[in-house]
């Protein structure tokens, strides 16, 4: 590959967030379509030449989340990994809080104990922006280091933008040409779940607007089945899923300005902000009577035992809900895009994780770490994860795989959601979790009736402004 080709590829790769089609077109023009097309076509021959065992004997360590099924999928595949690469991989997978702490300790140490680290997309600014991870463009550009069928163009553009691309000069996620992380082991967003049988029996169509959502909730509510549900507990997803989805799909804009300009101002107390919370309060009569204590598990349990008629939720739960072994409503559940105000695009928050190589990892093992990273973010691995654990894919090929779609019919909806997902603007600053907590506490208080929607939003607005000023993001 000549230099111009490399430069072209580099530009193309970093532009992946913008438009996958453009990438493929450009790649074809550069004669690289075979490489980007991966195993489909001449890539097979090229892949056969790739030396997977060049780092055989190397021992690697990965730090990853133990809260999802990623670590289980990786553990399942370890024998295959060792067989194909000759390398050994040790997995450390604590829960989120401990993961963040351990990650930061490692990133700030003289030498990281882990050659690979998985980080939450909401922490991209904190960890990638902190300059702790190796820039990956040189690895991606080098055909001796990157398997030809790895196919970077196959990653979901919003996921790539959320965890992979970062502009150090401006401190902006998803902007520029530099890649620091690879989406994985999974991505995802939010979709609409509804009970097909109940909707059909009542002569209703799945809700496409929030008014329809409320009307259906009212009509379907009974002693046995709640008309709808949502995260009502003091839980991360109360703000991030239920409030934020309603907020942005009714025209809300969470932040104005930018942290860099020190004019990063919240709009929580805007009419859309108050309106989104009021929507949840108005749904209380049609929700499970204990919905203010409902977090992730309660909603999944409630829906899969047939006690909830509709809700919006992380698409990652679709697998268990549509799996007859875990769910009593597997064959009665339909999925679709989240409702939205007429004229607004149905969309929700961008979730998911990234994988990267710490700068302070053992230099002698970095090439091996990259090879391992490509192995565990490959199409085959992603397909295995989706099939076995029904986690949200990070690759388009897994979302559109005919076998998987036949087995898991929600995948096209999950792909659509993942393709339109938005990065929540507060994740651009390291105080993201603190701001989210403030919102959850006040919104939960509004739902249990100790304050009204306006008061709750005003309080959050004030608390956020104080926190942003203290952190130097708002003058």
């Amino acid at each position: 590959m000549d230099d111009s080709g490399k430069g072209g590829l580099r530009d193309l790769l970093t532009g992946v967030a913008a438009d996958r089609r453009k990438l493929l077109k450009g790649a074809a023009a550069l004669g690289l379509s075979a490489a980007l097309a991966g195993r489909f076509g001449t890539g097979d021959a090229w892949a056969a030449d790739f030396d997977w065992k060049k780092h055989a004997g190397t021992k690697l360590s990965i730090l990853m989340t133990g809260d999802e099924n990623d670590h289980r999928a990786l553990a399942d595949m370890l024998p295959k990994f060792t067989e194909e690469t000759g390398m050994e991989l040790e997995i450390t997978s604590p829960a989120l809080g401990a993961l963040i702490e351990k990650t930061l300790q490692n990133l700030k140490a003289d030498k990281s104990s882990f050659e690979l680290i998985e980080y939450l997309g909401f922490l991209t600014t904190q960890q990638v922006g902190g300059g702790y991870y190796e820039q990956l463009n040189a690895y991606i550009d080098d055909p001796a280091k990157t398997p030809p069928d790895w196919d970077i163009a196959d990653f979901l553009p919003p996921a790539m933008a959320n965890v992979g691309i970062f502009d150090m000069a401006t401190g902006t996620v998803g902007q520029g040409k530099d890649i620091y992380g690879i989406p994985g082991l999974h991505s995802g967003s939010v979709i609409y779940f509804y009970r097909k049988d109940l909707f059909e029996a009542a002569g209703l169509k799945p809700a496409t607007t929030w008014d329809e959502f409320k009307a259906a909730a009212e009509k379907l509510h009974s002693d046995d089945v709640a008309g709808c549900s949502f995260i009502g507990a003091n839980d991360f997803s109360l703000a991030a899923v239920d409030w934020y989805t309603r907020f942005i799909t009714t025209g809300g804009k969470l932040m104005s300005g930018s942290p860099k300009e020190k004019n990063f101002k919240p709009q929580v107390n805007s009419p859309e902000g108050i309106g989104a919370l009021q929507m949840l309060i108005d749904l209380l009569p049609y929700a499970p009577k204990n919905v203010t204590k409902y977090g992730f598990a309660e909603n999944v349990d409630g829906f899969s035992t047939g006690k909830i008629a509709q809700m919006i939720f992380w698409s990652t739960i679709a697998g268990p809900i549509l799996n007859g072994e875990n769910s009593m409503v597997a064959d009665k559940t339909g999925t679709g895009p989240v409702p939205a105000k007429p004229g607004e695009t149905p969309r929700a928050i961008q979730g998911g994780w990234g994988m990267a190589i710490p700068k302070n990892a053992d230099p002698a093992k970095k090439d091996a770490a990259w090879l391992a990273l490509t192995w565990m973010t490959s199409k085959e691995f992603n397909k295995y994860e989706v099939e076995k654990y029904q986690i949200d894919a990070s690759r388009t090929s897994a979302f559109t795989d005919p076998d998987l779609v036949a087995k898991l019919p929600y995948l096209p909806d999950a792909l659509k959601a993942a393709s339109t997902a938005e990065i929540i603007p507060t994740s651009l600053i390291p105080e993201f979790f603190q701001l989210n907590d403030m919102m959850n506490v006040e919104f939960n208080a509004a739902l249990i009736g100790t304050q009204d929607a306006k008061t709750a939003c005003e309080k959050v607005q004030k608390q956020w402004e104080d926190a942003l000023r203290k952190a130097g993001h708002l003058a």
């Binding site: 809080g97 401990a98 963040i100 702490e101 930061l104 700030k108 904190q126 902190g130 507990a233 003091n234 499970p288 009577k289 204990n290 203010t292 204590k293 309660e298 349990d301 409630g302 006690k307 600053i429 390291p430 105080e431 979790f433 603190q434 907590d437 506490v441 006040e442 939960n444 208080a445 249990i448 100790t450 952190a471």
Partner: protein, 306 residues
């Protein structure tokens, strides 16, 4: 030289010289090293941390003097947590002392088969607090929890255990009491068993009824054990984090966020390490002052109690 005294000087005579200092250091060394590594160093490290603005965001940790402590004093969330801690410790410990003493007196009657019940009674204390929290959260689940199901089955309406601010604190206190009353009971019961029975008989001969006997004779003699148990429990309840983590996660609406949980949130959720260390040190100060006062109270009554 007896066999015992010979055995006491093995190191000192190794080279034919008396080196008691070396012996002492060899024996104390591992202990001192352990203390330095796992107690003293972390204590000073966290103290230093509390004077910095270290967050995951900055990663710098500039010295800011007493700024974190000043922020604490003006932070309504800190005062909310302090108030919750005070309520939890006072109510839980008071309840546990009353129930623990009552149980001790009951089992002192030495009823037939009491030893079996006594053994079962101690079981909650043996369970890890995080498990207790998760277990009670499940039992009190409003949709499928056994407690709510039982209450509903007998035609009553179950309380909103963990759903309202006030009730969540009550639930936390009740669960803590369920777990730790056996601890107070066992301490008081051991003391009670060791008391000379002649004094009780003398009081009865002098005409003291059960209430007077308890108030004037038994209770004063039990006081050291009660205060010890109360101090121990107060310190433990004040530091309690895992039970809250499993049971209510500090909610709803920060209704069960105690100082320990507040420190955890700042340190491990928000990565404000400097501020979290300041919260932890404020707890240390409160515990030190509170414990000193309580223990001093015991020492003020040695004549009656020991």
């Amino acid at each position: 030289m007896s066999a015992v005294s010979a055995a006491r000087q093995p190191v000192a005579v190794i080279e034919g010289r008396d080196r008691p200092a070396l012996t002492a250091w060899l024996l104390l060394g591992p202990c001192v090293l352990y203390l330095v590594a796992f107690s003293i160093y972390p204590l000073f490290y966290s103290l230093r941390l509390s004077f910095t603005d270290l967050t995951a965001a900055t990663g710098t940790g500039n010295f800011v003097g007493l700024a974190n402590y000043y922020t604490l004093l003006t932070d309504p969330l800190f005062w909310n947590a302090a108030m919750n801690s005070a309520i939890m410790v006072t109510a839980a410990v008071a309840l546990q002392v009353v129930l623990g003493v009552a149980l001790a007196l009951f089992f002192d009657l030495d009823l037939k088969g009491a030893w079996i019940v006594r053994g079962i009674l101690l079981l909650p204390m043996l369970i890890t607090p995080i498990v207790v929290g998760v277990m009670w959260r499940a039992l009190l689940n409003p949709d499928w929890g056994m407690v709510d199901w039982t209450i509903s089955a007998i035609g009553l309406t179950p309380p909103d255990w963990l759903g309202s601010v006030g009730m969540a604190m009550v639930t936390l206190i009740l669960v803590d009491t369920w777990q730790w009353t056996p601890f107070v009971f066992i301490i008081v019961f051991a003391r009670l068993q060791g008391l000379p029975r002649e004094i009780f008989e003398a009081a009865e001969v002098d005409g003291a009824g059960p209430i007077v006997k308890f108030r004037r004779v038994v209770l004063p003699m039990l006081m050291p054990a009660i205060v010890f148990a109360a101090v121990f429990r107060a310190v433990d309840a004040f530091r309690s984090f895992d039970l809250i983590y499993g049971l209510s996660y500090g909610g709803p609406a920060r209704g069960t966020t105690t100082l320990a949980f507040f420190s955890f949130q700042n340190g491990f959720q928000f990565q404000n390490y400097g501020y979290a260390a300041a919260v932890a040190y404020s707890m240390l100060i409160i515990i030190a002052v509170g414990t000193t006062i309580l223990l001093r109270y015991v020492q003020l009554r040695p004549g009656q109690a020991r």
